[in-house]
């Protein structure tokens, strides 16, 4: 177990280094110049001296390798530099937006699990009956309907029929839970439905597989109640792939909420990334990609570690 953990933690290093180099490279290949954007010109009437001075001020006159080295050294000390666009430390900018995205990701995952596992289990236990068909249609529908479209429709209905408008400022739950709830409930439900669809399908198919196992037949033969068989015997053994899926989806959510944040005009990490790329704000994009990738890798490691808890036969080597 200890060697396994050490090996896994060690493997994180090349992955993150690869991600860091990739984003650094991509940002430098993208045409566009933050200095030009800051100076506010379309390139036509900016004098060269000003541009050179701005490049020096932002540190963009250094060779690429030096820039990369400086940035990596900063990351090791948890210093992600300052935003070229706003001049604020990147960490501060990030801390304003991260709570919103994390809350959205957590709540949406929670909602999806609460919907998906009972429904998936039910559909599997009643395979090929109308219950199964209804659940499958609902879940395939959730996969098919674009979440931004659901968002647009929800907002339209709320605006037209209830005169509701999306609040502009994010209120953290610890400041005013009710205001936070009003703001988050629709985005959470929109995203939650989509992810519930994915998880329901996975739960259904894994429970179906497990229900064909011999020990389930033994459990029937013992005369156990169906509820006990499905929940206690089948579900727990069917959970491994489901947990993997939930975890992976959650890891994707942290960086993948842009569409939802755009529809509901929420100022989260996703929109921050898009704006930063538009401004060619290298430090911000690099930091965000790094943080998102780090979150992804850590969540994946945690998923793998929970396997042993669900299935004690699993040993880590």
């Amino acid at each position: 177990m200890r060697t396994y953990l050490a090996k896994r933690l060690l493997l994180i290093v090349p992955t993150l280094l690869g991600v860091a180099s990739l984003v650094f490279l991509i940002m430098r290949v993208i045409p566009g110049d933050v200095a030009l954007l800051i100076l506010g010109g379309d390139g036509g009437n900016i004098d060269q001296a000003q541009l050179v001075a701005m490049h020096r001020e932002l540190g963009l006159d250094q060779p690429l390798l030096v820039q990369f080295g400086t940035w990596l050294w900063g990351v090791l000390r948890f210093d992600f530099g300052t935003s070229l666009w706003t001049g604020q430390p990147v960490v501060e900018e990030l801390l304003i937006r991260l709570p919103l995205s994390l809350e959205l990701a957590f709540l949406a995952t929670g909602v999806s699990v609460l919907i998906a596992i009972p429904l998936g289990m039910l559909a599997a236990a009643r395979q090929d009956t109308w219950v199964d068909y209804v659940v499958r249609v609902i879940s395939i529908g959730g996969l098919a309907i674009p979440s931004f479209w659901v968002g647009i429709l929800v907002i339209l209905l709320l605006v037209i029929y209830f005169g509701w408008g999306p609040p502009l400022e994010f209120t953290p739950p610890w400041v005013d839970p009710w205001a936070n709830f009003q703001q988050m409930v629709w985005p959470v439900l929109t995203v939650g439905y989509r992810y519930a669809a994915v998880t329901t399908r996975m739960t259904r198919s894994t429970v179906l597989e497990v229900l064909r196992e011999d020990y389930i037949r033994t459990a029937w033969a013992k005369g156990l109640a169906e509820r006990v068989i499905v929940i206690r015997h089948a579900l727990k053994n069917a959970m491994l792939p489901v947990i993997t899926l939930i975890g992976t989806e959650f890891a994707f959510l942290i960086g993948g909420l842009v569409v939802t944040e755009t529809v509901f005009t929420l100022n989260g990490v996703g929109r921050f990334v898009v704006d930063a790329v538009a401004h060619r704000d290298y430090p911000v994009v690099q930091a965000l990609v790094f943080v998102i990738a780090f979150g992804f890798v850590i969540v994946n490691l945690l998923i793998d570690l929970t396997y042993a808890w669900f299935d004690p036969r699993i040993r880590y080597r």
Binding site: I26, V29, V137, A144
Partner: protein
């Protein structure tokens, strides 16, 4: 609620069952998988519309008629018109072309490249395997949106660039699955046998390993089709995909659609229905295909 288990199960084993003709296979698929057949119907209808769209409509998808801005759905314009007075139904039908093109090319390119890398990784092993695996880790952890943003900024917003942006994130996922399958295929005795007979490496890979990873490849390919159509819609909606005036479904929902929605809700309604229906069809079909191909999920 009790489940009855028959005491004796008599089944004709697979190789002894009579070989079905193509028509019989189709009939069997429709009878045993009604949902899958419905999905196939949607896919076929979409293909039909995409191919014959010129003959199906007399309006132009790009040329608007300002006298007809925001026309309500009527006998003339079934789905109404948009802010430029363009017929919405016509644009949605032309949109089927874009959706199908992106869906097929992106999932085919992504899955094929992923499968090839997966096979290479599994068969050659060693350092190559290690390097490819790490590369896949990096691609998996890299946020898809940044990739799409970067590709749109470097190559410009065009349909073929959207294909690249959607295909790349597919590669590591397929590579993982195929690598795992190829690793187990590689250990089979028939592979050892042909190697002992002196078959060259390319021959082993092409003739013996690749045919045996076709099932997971096909499953991932069909599963990816709907997802790719959805991704195109989302990227276009964000302004990172196709550019105006391309009749892309996602683009039709972006920007103007929401702001005009109170006046002309049909602009925001019909493209969304088109996306959902298309992805729904592809998913239903892909799902049933998987059930049919995966013997574990067959009802015993």
């Amino acid at each position: 609620m009790s489940v009855q288990y028959p005491l004796v199960q008599v089944r004709v084993s697979e190789p002894l069952a009579p070989r079905l003709t193509f028509a019989e296979e189709v009939v069997k698929f429709v009878r045993t998988k009604p949902l899958g057949a419905a999905g196939a119907l949607v896919v076929l209808a979409m293909l039909f519309v995409a191919v014959f769209v010129e003959a199906l409509t007399r309006y132009d998808p790009y040329q608007g008629d300002y006298a007809l801005q925001f026309a309500r759905p009527s006998a003339e314009h079934w789905f109404g018109t948009d802010e430029f007075g363009r017929d919405l139904l016509t644009r949605i039908m032309y949109g089927a072309r874009i959706a199908l093109f992106v869906g097929f090319t992106a999932s085919f390119a992504g899955c094929t490249l992923g499968a090839l890398l997966g096979v290479l990784s599994a068969y050659w092993g060693g350092t190559l395997d290690l390097l490819l695996e790490r590369l896949m880790d990096v691609l998996l952890a890299f946020p898809q949106l940044i990739l799409a943003l970067a590709i749109a900024s470097i190559l410009g917003p065009a349909v073929q660039n959207v294909v690249v942006a959607i295909a790349i994130p597919v590669i590591p996922r397929v590579a993982r699955v195929v690598r795992a399958t190829a690793l187990s295929v590689k250990e089979h005795q028939y592979v050892e046998a042909v190697q002992a007979l002196g078959a060259s490496r390319p021959r082993v890979v092409l003739r013996h390993i690749i045919p045996n990873i076709m099932a997971p490849y096909l499953i991932m390919l069909t599963a990816q089709l709907g997802a790719a159509i959805l991704a195109e819609a989302a990227l276009s909606y964000l302004g990172l995909g196709t550019a105006e005036p391309t009749p892309s479904w996602g683009l039709m929902l972006s920007g103007s659609a929401a702001s005009y929605a109170e006046k002309a809700p049909w602009i925001a309604l019909f493209p969304g229905i088109a996306i959902s229906l298309a992805v729904f069809g592809f998913n239903l079909f892909g799902d049933s295909l998987r059930d049919a191909l995966d013997p574990k999920l067959r009802r015993g």
